[in-house]
């Protein structure tokens, strides 16, 4: 328990607020990497997922892609991309690696959300004269939102944990303290930084849990409570 006390003491110590990377800046860069990566990934994966779910085309490819991409070793990818992009583009290289990591869960959330809408509901929408685009925009997307937010939630959690690796290639994020702490055997610093990452992850997860509940369409929510 002493180690935990030391770790918490480290988080609030002046030592953590000074140096080449103050803790506040580390948290900020950590979150910036996370949000930018998830946003870029969402910009790519959400439309693609909706299209796959709506048309049913390319479903096998999407399933295979999101399955295979989960097996990519993130650490290797970060270092590889830094070498490929060159050391002057470390931020871009790391972000690209995190984007690739975030795409599969978002893609899966987007297409499975649209796909999971009951056929009867879709047929009903068609029957009242909705165009294909209206069916997607007014029926499938709103009904699929909880699953999409679920996908974003797991992507964000994966990325917020993995941004730690950015510390291996530069002075960014909370991973820096872990990388440095391992070498100088400062276990309070390692655990302190890890605890901050855990707190960030838990807070983000809670926010997404609330969001997931909030996006359930009124009609669906009313019917659920009636059940």
């Amino acid at each position: 328990m002493d180690l935990f006390a030391d770790a918490i003491a480290w988080i609030f110590s002046p030592e953590a607020q000074s140096g080449s990377l103050p803790l506040s800046e580390a948290i900020w860069t950590h979150l910036a990497f996370t949000f930018v990566s998830v946003l870029i990934a969402a910009a790519v994966a959400v439309p693609a997922g909706w299209l796959v779910g709506h048309t049913g085309r390319g479903r096998e490819a999407a399933v295979a892609l999101s399955g295979a991409a989960r097996a990519v070793p993130s650490f290797g990818l970060v270092l590889l991309l830094v070498l490929v992009f060159g050391v002057t583009h470390k931020v871009g290289a790391s972000t690209t690696a995190f984007v690739l990591l975030a795409i599969p869960p978002i893609l899966a959330g987007a297409y499975s959300g649209v796909e999971a809408v009951e056929r009867r509901v879709v047929d009903g929408a068609r029957a009242v004269g909705m165009t294909s685009r209206q069916v997607l925009g007014k029926v499938e997307i709103p009904l699929g939102l909880p699953l999409l937010i679920g996908g974003l939630r797991s992507a964000t959690l994966q990325v917020v944990a993995t941004v730690t690796l950015a510390g291996y290639v530069g002075s960014w994020g909370l991973g820096f303290y872990i990388v440095q702490g391992i070498q100088i055997r400062d276990f309070a610093q390692i655990l302190g930084a890890a605890l901050v990452i855990v707190v960030l992850a838990v807070v983000l997860d809670l926010l997404f849990a609330l969001l997931e509940r909030a996006v359930v369409p009124h009609g669906v929510a009313a019917r659920r409570s009636a059940d």
Binding site: G19, S20, L21, L79, V82, L83, G86, V87, T88, K90, G167, Y168, V169, G170, S171, F176, V179, Q180, Q183, I184, D186
Partner: protein, 304 residues
Amino acid sequence: MRTTRRTTALVAGAAAALLTLTACGGDSDPLEQDTGDGGEETSSDTIVVGSQAYYSNEIIAEIYAQALEADGFTVERNYSIGQRDAYMPALEAGEVQVFPEYTGNLLQYYDPETTATSADDVYAELADALPESLTVLDQSPATDQDSYNVTAAFAEAEGLTSIGDLAGLDDLTLGGPAELEERPYGPQGLSEVYDVDVAFEATGDTTVQDLVAGTVDVANVFSADPRIQTEDLVTLEDPEGLFLASNVVPLVSTDVADQVADVINPVSAALTPEGLVDLNVQSTEEQRSSEDIAADWLSENGLA
């Protein structure tokens, strides 16, 4: 009954696979092997030479080995025994008798609080710090230690030869592994010893690339790194002893020290800092084996 037989076959297969695996494991662990025959002291003519799992260290070990063989010793090679925590027990127990080491790093292993930095001070303190079963022979002028480097272009433009010349330059960024920030020779030491103020940037495994690309101005690179040659870097001199000197030094069992000293001391004397870099270049750039590099070096230096 049929299932039973099949299960037996499966278990037998798994056991066989496991045995094969453990056999492999045993082979790749040099320390494991030794315990079998290393119990009693090997005959006085057989010397066990070991090395770290570091290519440069293995080349030096191979030079020792071939020099000893040329002098009539029977040599057993035990290379790539991992890092210091892994091989020191084997050395202290006499299972490995000759090992290339580095004075500064070895001194820090035995005395982490040491304040010695100059080569001679470090060597003297090391001799005192070693357990009785171990002895260091003469240290070599060759070093493999932390050093600050700049690009040749930057050195020329600013007229830099020593770390002190950096004083007064604005907006300097120092690159190196993340832990450099906390080391005694890191940014704080630079400021205290040489009055050089730098910002710190953790560059991890890409320190040399960062220096070449210009994202950092000064980089912490091992002094025997071949890229100092191949990337045209300039190592800044350290007259004030900011860095802990770490010369190549043969660490030997006290039992055999007198026997091997006459063979190995001339090798240490002939190994220069530039010579060590050159050996490393032959390994990393030309992909030559350590046997070939060692054989050539010994004949060039008239030692074999």
